[in-house]
Symmetry: none
Subunit: 128 residues, 4 copies
DNA sequence: GTGGTCTAGACCACT
DNA sequence: GTGGTCTAGACCACC
């Protein structure tokens, strides 16, 4: 798998890594038991501090997506976390509310907003 | 208008205030020229420091949503376009990217996301 | 770059910092990508509170002059147009009105004012 | 004489009054000994707080432009304050520096700045 | 180490 | 009473 990070953006680097690993795992690109690049190797590849990679891996291990095998490396774990339906709904609408509040003042019409959302979702689908 | 903040959440208090004022203004709940609660009064209501309220108001003044009259109070400003088209686009897509990254883990399909966005936008239109 | 502030004057400290950074950037003294002194370091140098520096930097980030990378520092951003033409015009004339109101009492003739403005602009051009 | 104030602008109301009285006096529109509108009358006319008018008059009395005659009203005084040439020059360049720093980031060329300054000065000359 | 947020409390400018 | 600025110091997020 290929991980990319952008330093300029608002999103913290460690979160960008988490997002991409989670997506690769849930999309099946990374199978159960597959090895991830080592902390230092990925850090070198991305030209970032290795603590940042370690932090991302630690969070993924904590939530059960990855599994760390002492001395051997980090691997995709068997178990998957799933939020309850209610929790997923709550998180979704919370994120949606923040998004709409942020853009409410930018002068986009409801139709434009929907069109842009649709366009970006399609561009993601095409990339995968 | 009634503003609420949750101290536990990871969204900064001053941003929660900004969100709610922006929504109230763009929904027409607060009309042009309407006075907002004074900095200290709102701070007391929310049981937070007055500087936090001042920071939120200052940001809203800078982006053109509010207007501050020294010694008199803070008011809803006449709608005007403050940012360039490129900047508004940049801000829109930044907010959209954060939103989609946040919900990408929740297992919603592209169609579901679009449906939820459409539904919430319609509920806003109905409110106005 | 060397930043100086005078505490006695009636111009707020954070605005003095903004003025000087803006000038240094627009004069090319600070190139795109260059790092600024850290918030706390500059605060110590100027013997002022670090929040005051942070406030100045935050404003420069918002207007697009600087770019902040959490945990890494603050850097000169790539030049981009943040404000609409109307907003830039509004800001320009607001600044011009304040300037002319301030000097109206000093007995300079219109010709003298124009000559002094021209002279200072030329001195800047020479510096670049 | 006719005094006008704008509440929306950045310039404090009391300073707007001071500016206009000073200009009317130095332009000869208000002769030595002429009476000014009473504090309450002017306040009512401008729909502002009478303390604001009182503050402006107080400053004009303090600097010697006006003279207050207890129980009779406020009048244009005989004596005139004048800054030293050095002080006038210092104040002028300080104001000019702030003006140019403020607009340096708005993307105006030196030629445009000069043209706008010239245009506004001419519009003032035409008004007088 | 970096920047970002928040508090408590002071003082000033303006109406 | 209003908003604006500044300080001192704390705690958090990120690298």
């Amino acid at each position: 798998m290929q991980i990319k990070v952008s330093l300029g953006g608002n999103r913290p680097i460690y979160k960008q890594i988490i997002d991409q690993v989670r997506q690769a795992v849930s999309a099946g690109e990374l199978e159960v038991g597959a090895a991830l690049p080592s902390v230092r190797q990925l850090a070198e590849e991305l030209v970032i501090n290795h603590n940042t990679v370690a932090k991302a891996y630690a969070e993924l291990v904590r939530e059960g997506t990855l599994e760390s095998q002492h001395g051997r490396g980090v691997f995709v774990a068997k178990r998957r976390i799933v939020f309850s339906a209610a929790e997923r709904k709550r998180r979704f609408h919370s994120a949606l509310d923040v998004f709409l509040a942020d853009v409410s003042v930018l002068g986009y019409s409801a139709e434009q907003i929907q069109a842009e959302v649709a366009a970006k979702l399609e561009s993601f689908a095409a990339t995968e």
